[in-house]
């Protein structure tokens, strides 16, 4: 008579035949009948894809969704299998996860932490999602990661580059494959030194929010270490669309490098403005003036058009990588959708496979089991070379790409070229590095 659980799909089979059922007190709706939150009972398992579908990052979100769709197809045995064929772990069989068919629900983060949490909650409460993944900003990633920790759900972060996600805001239930600001800085700094010399004066323009701050801190520290001087760090309002009044004083400051700690629309506009002001044609201190965009995204680079040519930055992954795994992914993505995947798509695809693989290896959907399977997991064959999911902070360590805006693009996708693949050893840091200090993973929560 009394049978209660929150998982939707299992429900049909277990519900009472008629009349009233009853109720058991549950915490965050994981009932005592289930071993953990949203335990899948039927023949399928539901993943929650929480991506920005509206707002400035909608296109990036759309690309993430495509990657998820592809990943689900491959997990269920459809398509050509993509990176499942190159993945070093062979636990995935192409028969779903743990034999259950993979289904998914989608939500819109709107790139707002409030909205993202609401949408994640609805997927957990209403649709019985067992894992939440996606997103295109660190604020959202941290907010949703916090929610998943409380709810007892695994969170596989999408595009989030702030040090905080696996630093002071790290959570036992949250995992990040994407690289971070520290890694960008560590990879970029030597290249910058090689190309522009050790005697440079840098001027930072920084988007005035969490991610901007951590990137500014990371880049400034890394470049200062190799001898650069930081002339000024200027914060720009997030809502700014015209950066002229921030860019105009740069030349007067005596700086000969401009670092744009901007992303998305901010990056497009500030870079466009900087090029308009002719900064790149100037000689300062007897050197050619240079601009650096530490975090590149191909989708955003497209918005800046010709202005990106020759500008250095870093990226998590790029479709032009020639390793077998990347090629396999580009092939199945490209054949399905007609264009190459973005770095966001790559991360989201890989995160889904990693999650599924961890389930298989752990033999359960229990978040704590999955957490154990992912912690310290060494793998290869998902692009970026041999990779480690570090147990101490749930950050992936892998090679980082330093890229440059391509001078002669052959198509609208061919905007960046890889300058250097920075080996993993060079971007590693201790768990208690000061830029990442302050938080604790806590205990895993199964709901």
């Amino acid at each position: 008579m009394s049978k209660s659980n929150f998982t939707r799909r299992g429900m049909l089979k277990t519900s009472a035949l008629a009349g009233a059922g009853v109720a058991l007190p549950t915490i965050f709706t994981a009932s005592s009948a289930a071993a953990y939150m949203n335990e899948p009972k039927g023949g399928s398992v539901t993943l929650g894809f929480n991506v920005p579908q509206t707002g400035a990052y909608a296109d990036e979100g759309a690309d993430e969704l495509r990657a998820y769709e592809l990943a689900v197809e491959h997990l269920n045995g459809g398509g050509d299998g993509g990176m499942m064929n190159t993945f070093s772990s062979k636990a995935l069989q192409g028969n779903g996860i743990l034999g259950k068919k993979v289904e998914y629900v989608t939500g819109d983060t709107q790139t707002k932490s409030d909205a993202a949490r609401a949408s994640a909650k609805s997927m957990i409460e209403k649709d019985g999602a067992i894992m939440i993944t996606g997103g295109s900003s660190s604020g959202v990633a941290v907010a949703v990661q916090g929610l998943c920790q409380e709810a007892g759900i695994i969170f596989m972060a999408g595009l989030t580059h702030s040090n905080d996600t696996t630093g002071k805001d790290k959570k036992a239930n949250g995992f990040r494959h994407f690289f971070n600001a520290y890694m960008s800085a560590a990879a970029l700094a030597p290249v910058l030194k090689n190309r522009y010399g050790a005697d440079r004066k840098a001027y930072h323009l920084t988007a005035d929010y969490t991610w901007g701050w951590t990137q500014e801190e990371s880049i400034a520290a890394a470049t200062e270490e190799m001898g650069w001087e930081t002339v000024n760090k200027v914060r720009t309002p997030l809502a700014a669309t015209d950066f002229s009044s921030y860019i105009a004083p740069v030349l007067n400051s005596g700086a000969d490098v401009l670092v744009l700690n901007h992303y998305g629309g901010n990056m497009v506009n500030s870079l466009t403005n900087a090029v308009q002001f002719g900064l790149r044609e100037k000689m300062v201190n007897g050197k050619q003036f240079e601009i650096v965009v530490p975090l590149y995204s191909r989708l955003m680079a497209r918005g800046a058009g010709e202005n990106v040519k020759g500008i250095l930055g870093s990226t998590n992954w790029h479709w032009s990588l020639t390793d077998e795994a990347s090629q396999a992914f580009v092939k199945s993505f490209g054949e399905k959708f007609g264009f190459p995947p973005s770095q966001a798509a790559h991360t989201c695809y890989v995160q889904t496979l990693l999650y599924a693989d961890a389930c298989e290896r752990a033999g359960t959907f229990n978040p704590c089991g999955i957490g154990e399977a992912l912690e310290g997991f060494e793998f290869d064959g998902l692009g970026n070379g041999p990779t480690l999911y570090r147990a101490g902070d749930h950050q992936c360590f892998k090679d980082v790409l330093v890229v440059k805006g391509k001078e002669n693009p052959t198509s609208e996708f061919d905007l960046l070229e890889v300058v250097e693949i920075t080996p993993r050893a060079q971007v590693e840091y201790p768990v208690d590095h000061p830029m990442f200090a302050g938080g604790a993973l806590g205990a895993c929560n199964a709901g």
Partner: protein, 404 residues
């Protein structure tokens, strides 16, 4: 009853019944059906939003509906209330009542201050003053007051203010025995705990947080009815109607409007406090001008100056916002699977633009339709339908008469 006349009592009980039976009403489709995935709204988060935004708009309506003063920065109070409540959780304890009270007090104080300044002007000048002040609050909360590395991190910026494992709570523990964050509760009853009930293919969820919010909403609604029917409410309506006559009748309009402003600010703070109590994270976006605009939209959608309008407007907006954005092509295919393949694909291809990433478009079209065809909002729509029935009944009677 309760000092209300018959009509208002009836209205109150209708709203009470809707609120208390919401878990049933909002889950009309059996579990697992594709219709359920699309249209069921009976899950705790959304139900909480219905009533909390109801409170917000009920309060806004006391200002806008009664006095006609259009505040375009009301979301600021929602945000201030949210932040206050989270701070209460961080510093004092996880019981929601002190947090909600603090939220109301702080937002009330801010409302007094902001109202005192803004009410020096009327009309659009007042609207722009409130908008400007709220945008200042938003910008400051998003960056200047929210830098985690500064000593003065009031709002935690973009991520939003949230609990952490090292919060030093005066009453209660920083971390639970299991190493998790403690949960918000009402004297021990966790806000996120739920009771569930299976009936046939249906599953109904009764969430503690929802019921607390619903009861507070009913109290707020009741207070709002009392204000509408009070001499004070009469004075507010008089302000809207003719301020000149007010002045020449020996009435000082400023304190009346200010009082209305503060009351609606407190309502907004209460809503903010409740939002934080249900989910202890306060984001700066809550104060953005689009959030303020949304409050205005909900009020007008429902029917300005009516009692039940705000509740309807808030429900309408929140429902479509949450439901539409979650529909993707997969769901559409599921739902339209019964159609012939070609036709199904065509229809999905068309609907594709209106759901998921296109949900803004649908919502924009709905706003326009409601406002074009129902100047009095959804309440007017209801009245029209009611009149239609009445007329039908009347015409039935007149048709019968000659036959007799």
């Amino acid at each position: 009853m309760l000092g209300l006349n018959k009509k208002d009592t009836l209205l109150f009980w209708i709203v009470a019944a809707l609120a208390l039976l919401a878990p049933f009403i909002l889950n009309p489709f059996p579990e697992g059906s594709s219709l359920a995935q699309m249209f069921n709204a009976g899950y705790p988060d959304l139900m909480q939003r219905f009533v909390i935004f109801g409170i917000l708009v009920i309060g806004f309506n006391i200002l806008f509906g009664l006095t006609g003063y259009l505040s375009f920065g009301h979301a600021a109070f929602l945000g201030i209330g949210s932040y206050s409540a989270v701070w209460m959780f961080k510093l004092v304890g996880m019981n929601v009542i002190p947090a909600i009270l603090l939220a109301m007090i702080v937002s009330g104080v801010f409302a007094l201050l902001i109202g005192y300044i803004s009410l020096r002007r009327s009309g659009i000048y007042f609207s722009i003053l409130t908008l400007a002040i709220a945008q200042m609050c938003y910008n400051l909360a998003y960056s200047v007051l929210g830098n985690p590395s500064s000593n003065f991190n009031l709002t935690n910026g973009e991520t939003g203010l949230q609990l952490s494992l090292d919060d030093a709570r005066i009453l209660g523990e920083s971390v639970t025995a299991e190493g998790a964050l403690p949960v918000t509760n009402f004297f021990g009853l966790a806000m996120r705990s739920s009771y569930q009930m299976d009936v046939g293919g249906w599953l109904f969820t009764f969430n503690a947080g929802y019921y607390l919010s619903a009861i507070i909403m009913l109290v707020s609604f009741y207070v709002s009815i009392r204000i509408f029917r009070s001499p004070f409410g009469l004075m507010l309506r008089a302000v809207k109607s003719n301020q000149q006559r007010m002045n020449y009748t020996g009435l000082n309009t400023r304190p009346y409007i200010l009082a209305a402003f503060v009351i609606s600010g407190i309502y907004a703070g209460l809503a903010g406090g409740l939002l934080s109590s249900m989910d202890p994270l306060a984001g700066a976006e809550r104060m953005h001008w689009t959030a303020s605009g949304e409050i205005v939209i909900m009020a007008i959608l429902g029917g300005v100056g009516t009692l039940i309008g705000p509740v309807l407007g808030a429900g309408f907006n929140e429902y479509f916002k949450n439901i539409l954005s979650k529909i993707n092509d997969n769901v559409l295919h599921d739902w339209l699977g019964f159609l012939p393949d070609g036709f199904e694909n065509l229809l999905v291809g068309f609907l594709h633009y209106f759901v998921g990433k296109g949900w803004h478009l649908t919502l924009g079209i709905m706003f326009m339709l409601v406002i074009i065809f129902l100047p009095g909002g959804l309440v007017q729509g209801g009245q029209r339908i009611a009149r239609l029935f009445r007329r039908k009944k009347n015409s039935d009677e007149t048709q019968q008469t000659p036959a007799e």
